[in-house]
């Protein structure tokens, strides 16, 4: 008669209560439930949906911690308090407790809002529909704070989470039924609803907006500018960061997307735990490289003039596109979402390739919306079922042919 039994008895006693799904969600999250299968024999994997979700979250934790340090680092650099990183990845200028605390207090509320609001809606829907609370939000809730600018107002994030979870997921029937990646739906909503907080040179560095307001109020201060590399390139200016900075992540950007190194580590973790699809990741990189090379050729062949507004991004070396913006993060953590990606093996190659290809296409040809990865993944989410359909039909056709040849 331990705690486990007591909890189970509690559940049996209250099985008609409306709030039971909420209780059992927390119960199964913290403990292994005490229920057994009633009819027939089942083989059950130990990695149920909750464990899968937790694995993905673990893969993202390094990015989150790095994001906290980076938020403080960008803030202090912009204020002129510290010098830029000199000694590689483990520079003491970067990994200081000072940096961490600034980022921590800025990013923790984002995480709390994202989980609080998102899970709140999941619980409400579970109670209304009378089913178990679905675990799908665990990963989304972690993705959301990683893909927004650090200074996004909290109420905007809350509104966007409500929109993303209700319209992006619950209307389709909840976890596993959604067409669009909910985290990206949330970001896209923010992006179109509040563009001044999602793009430009003020939102990527903590404190830049406040500083602007202080200047507007008449204080004699220097404005902070924290343009992302994509923004700089779109304007055709020189980029002030080295390729090493871009790879290691000492650049302004959304909270968790800057460090390609840590994203790669997370990606490897996902591949080895067989949760993320390496086919999608690889083909997406291939797609981006192909599109990048095409643009490089166009730029170097002199087909467009240097004064063209596309020239800056077009002439950026193709490998740089892989390091900047949200490309790496989107490819590893968002494009591989098993619900919204293609399911068939061949379909995954096509889907991934087009994600990469279209990402760079949107980036270059739409300087007003420099982040193409988000839009490319959402677009391909919509087409994933179509791709799967034709892959399956192609297979059926081939087999029919074989069958005919055999019987004839």
């Amino acid at each position: 008669m331990g705690l486990k039994k007591q909890l189970h008895d509690f559940k049996v006693k209250n099985k008609d209560k409306k709030w039971l799904p909420a209780f059992s969600a927390i119960h199964t999250f913290l403990f292994l439930p005490n229920e057994v299968t009633h009819n027939g024999t089942h083989i059950k994997g130990a990695d149920d949906l909750k464990r899968t979700m937790n694995t993905v979250i673990m893969a993202m934790v390094p990015c989150l911690i790095f994001g906290m340090f980076n938020a403080g680092y960008q803030h202090h650099i912009a204020l002129g308090d510290i010098q830029a990183v000199t000694a590689g990845f483990f520079s003491p200028e970067f990994w200081s407790i000072d940096n961490f605390l600034v980022g921590f207090w800025q990013i923790l509320p984002l995480v709390i809002i994202s989980y609080g609001v998102g899970l709140g809606i999941e619980f409400i829907f579970a109670i209304i529909k009378g089913h178990e609370v679905e675990e799908g939000y665990l990963v989304t809730g972690m993705l959301v704070p990683l893909i927004v600018p650090v200074d996004i107002p909290l109420w905007m994030l809350a509104v966007a989470v409500v929109f993303g979870v209700v319209i992006g997921k619950e209307v389709f029937g909840g976890t596993g039924m959604n067409i669009l990646n909910p985290a990206l739906t949330i970001r896209a909503f923010l992006f179109f609803a509040y563009p001044t907080w999602m793009s430009g040179d003020k939102v990527w560095v903590h404190g830049a907006v406040e500083r602007d307001q202080a200047i507007a109020a008449g204080e004699n201060l220097d404005a902070i500018s924290g343009e992302t590399i994509l923004g700089t390139l779109a304007q055709g200016k020189e980029v002030a960061y080295s390729a090493a900075d871009m790879f290691l992540g000492f650049i302004p950007g959304s909270v968790g997307e800057t460090s390609v190194l840590l994203i790669l580590l997370g990606g490897l973790f996902l591949i080895f735990s067989k949760i993320g699809s390496w086919r999608i990741m690889l083909s997406s990189v291939l797609g981006a490289v192909v599109m990048g090379l095409i643009f490089n050729q166009v730029a170097s062949a002199g087909i467009i003039s240097e004064s063209s507004k596309f020239y800056g991004l077009m002439s950026a070396p193709f490998w740089e596109h892989l390091l900047i913006g949200g490309f790496a993060f989107g490819t590893v953590f968002m494009a591989t979402d098993p619900v919204t990606a293609s399911q068939t093996t061949k379909g995954k190659w096509i889907y991934g390739f087009l994600v990469g290809f279209i990402s760079i296409l949107i980036r270059v040809f739409n300087p007003a919306y420099p982040e193409g990865v988000m839009l490319a993944i959402l677009l391909m989410n919509v087409f994933a079922p179509t791709i799967d359909h034709y892959v399956v039909q192609g297979n059926v056709k081939q087999r029919m042919k074989r069958l005919k040849a055999k019987t004839a």
Binding site: W155, V159, I167, A193, Y194
Partner: protein, 215 residues
């Protein structure tokens, strides 16, 4: 309604709720997306459709026995076109700014599926009085949805209603803007109109599950 018999009253009441042209028959979506960013435009559009559909239904109903069925679509088009031109010219004469906002969408009332749909489905088979009621009912049902959608889109997207700054001034930071509120630019884009219509459809069908289609 003592004025109308029960059967006639249903002609007005049904399209307002359980047989709404937009949310149930899913007709006229195009204009519902295009002109609902401002409440004023939506109201003018509703009134225009009310005029065209009310009169058009009566005209078609009066001619229903003399229109050869082979060319009935052309005849219907001529009737709508004539009425739409009247509306267009009146708007241009008395509300020029507004008619510029509505631009081609006044002209496109001709192609509004609700109108041709009511001509075909109702006016060709019923007397003028019932056709008139049917036209009024359907255009009211259309207008109600248009106005609801436009209300939310203008309020949340621009912070105004009929052009009045009901939420305060976003530039001078008065009203709710003093607390950091900002307008939701997404509401002014067409996708959000579709989503708002979708939410109305969702609410309506979850209140009356008999309306849910089987698939």
């Amino acid at each position: 309604m003592g004025l109308l018999s029960k059967k006639d009253a249903a002609l007005i009441k049904d399209p307002l709720a359980d047989n709404n042209p937009i949310t149930i028959q899913v007709l006229g979506i195009c204009s519902a997306l295009a002109i609902t960013a401002e409440l004023e435009a939506a109201i003018v559009m509703s009134v225009s459709v009310l005029f065209v559909l009310g009169i058009g239904n009566v005209v078609i109903s009066l001619m229903r026995n003399i229109i050869p069925s082979k060319i009935r679509i052309i005849v219907q088009l001529i009737v709508v076109a004539a009425l739409v031109i009247i509306v267009d010219q009146v708007l241009k004469a008395f509300a020029y700014e507004l008619s510029k906002t509505l631009s081609v969408f006044v002209g496109l009332i001709i192609t509004n599926c609700i109108i041709m749909g009511r001509f075909e489905a109702f006016a060709l088979a019923n007397g003028p009085w019932r056709s008139f009621l049917d036209g009024i009912g359907n255009s009211l049902g259309y207008g109600v949805i248009l106005i609801i959608v436009a209300f939310f889109r203008e309020l949340l997207g621009a912070g105004t209603l009929l052009g009045f700054k009901v939420l305060g001034d976003p530039i001078e930071k008065t009203g709710v803007y003093a607390f950091g509120y900002e307008n939701n630019g997404f509401m002014l884009l067409a996708p959000m109109a579709l989503i708002v219509v979708g939410i109305i459809i969702w609410i309506q069908r979850s209140r009356n599950t008999a309306l849910v289609e089987d698939h």
